[in-house]
């Protein structure tokens, strides 16, 4: 049995060599996996909102979360040009108006993550976003495989 490390909401974990990073039931939130295959170094980030105001919680937001994750990965020796990034989540579970026009929060989260990655010279190599269902995202740092589990659907590899 592979060792699993759980990533919560507004949270990020880094592991290397072996083990699986897992974040459960992404709805409108986004899971972003970062993987350097040479070092077998992986990170999984779970953000909740698109843009950071002046909140101290960096991992809650797409823009600051991506930046903070890359800063930490860099400290572990990760090289940006080798980095493989994948994203999942950004679903719309309900049609909501919400305060602050947050009704399309999932879509805005996805766009914000992509923008933040692009600003760092990174692109999303594959994604499973949108629609109206939750996704559990796993990153196996032994081989870099990213899989998606959804209720009532077969497992999917990104």
């Amino acid at each position: 049995m592979e060792k699993k490390t759980t990533v919560g909401i507004a949270d990020m974990k880094i592991i290397r060599q072996e083990g699986v990073l897992i974040t459960y039931a992404l709805g409108s939130c986004i899971g972003v996996s970062f993987y350097d295959p040479v070092l077998k170094l992986g990170a999984l980030l779970h953000i909740m909102l698109p843009e950071r105001g002046n909140d101290a919680n960096l991992l809650k937001y797409a823009d600051s979360g991506v930046k903070e994750t890359l800063r930490k990965l860099h400290a572990f020796g990760a090289v940006k040009s080798r980095m493989i990034c994948k994203i999942a989540g950004g679903a719309k579970m309900f049609e909501m108006k919400g305060p602050g026009g947050l009704g399309n929060i999932g879509e805005r989260n996805a766009q914000s993550v992509k923008r933040a990655l692009m600003a760092e010279g990174l692109r999303v190599s594959s994604e499973d976003t949108g629609a109206n269902y939750a996704r559990t995202m796993l990153l196996d740092v032994g081989n870099g495989k990213v899989s998606i589990r959804s209720a009532g659907k077969p497992e999917k590899f990104l």
Partner: protein, 204 residues
């Protein structure tokens, strides 16, 4: 008030009382639809981080049914009625005489029945709160979803999480005919609305 943590004991007690009156009213409404005794356990007011809030509600991957209504007007926030499969089965059996069914296999009649139940229960809850506090509250059209608990909670949490790293949940669980089948009635008030509510109720 900018943060849920700034609330004092008296304010929390008052919210519990509101939840209790709202929940009692909702239980009465559910009881008259189902034609059986329905109680609501004493509500709890919880202020928790996102991960703790989710852990309290259950397994994030558990598939549940949910009815969501947005509140606007004097109080902004979200009302969410979460039904486990067992709870949904019990309601569908009592209303439509249906055998247990997988939540993904619900047909249109099941869905509209459950949505209507959710709507009535939520409206009764909010009406009681509104008349007690004399704060006008408008409700959106109810929406129904079946999915993983974590996914269902993500949008409400994101909305409440815009201004805080904690969310406030006023929770209550229904018992049908003495049976504790898992369900949760959640009131998620926007932190800025709480002030309005407290002022109207004469607590500062």
């Amino acid at each position: 008030m900018n943060n849920y943590q700034e609330m004092n004991e008296i304010q929390l007690d008052l919210l519990k009382e509101l939840g209790s009156i709202g929940g009692g009213n909702a239980a009465t409404a559910l009881s008259s639809i189902l034609g059986t005794k329905v109680n609501m356990a004493l509500p709890k007011v919880e202020m928790l981080g996102f991960n703790e809030a989710l852990a309290l509600l259950g397994d994030p991957e558990e598939v549940i049914a949910a009815i969501l209504v947005e509140m606007s007007g004097g109080v902004e926030g979200i009302m969410l009625f979460l039904l486990s499969k067992e709870f949904s089965d019990e309601i569908l059996y009592r209303m439509l005489n249906k055998p247990p069914v997988d939540l993904f296999e619900l047909d249109e009649i099941d869905i509209s029945g459950l949505t209507e139940i959710g709507n009535i229960v939520i409206s009764s809850y909010v009406t009681a709160m509104s008349s007690l506090s004399s704060v006008e509250m408008e409700l959106s059209v109810p929406q129904f979803a079946v999915n993983m608990l974590g996914g269902i909670m993500s949008m409400p949490m994101a909305m409440m999480g815009q201004y805080s790293d904690q969310i406030m949940m006023i929770t209550g669980e229904f018992q049908i005919d003495g049976k504790a089948l898992h369900s949760d009635m959640l009131l998620l008030p926007d932190v800025r609305s709480l002030e309005v509510l407290m002022k109207k109720l004469g607590v500062n």
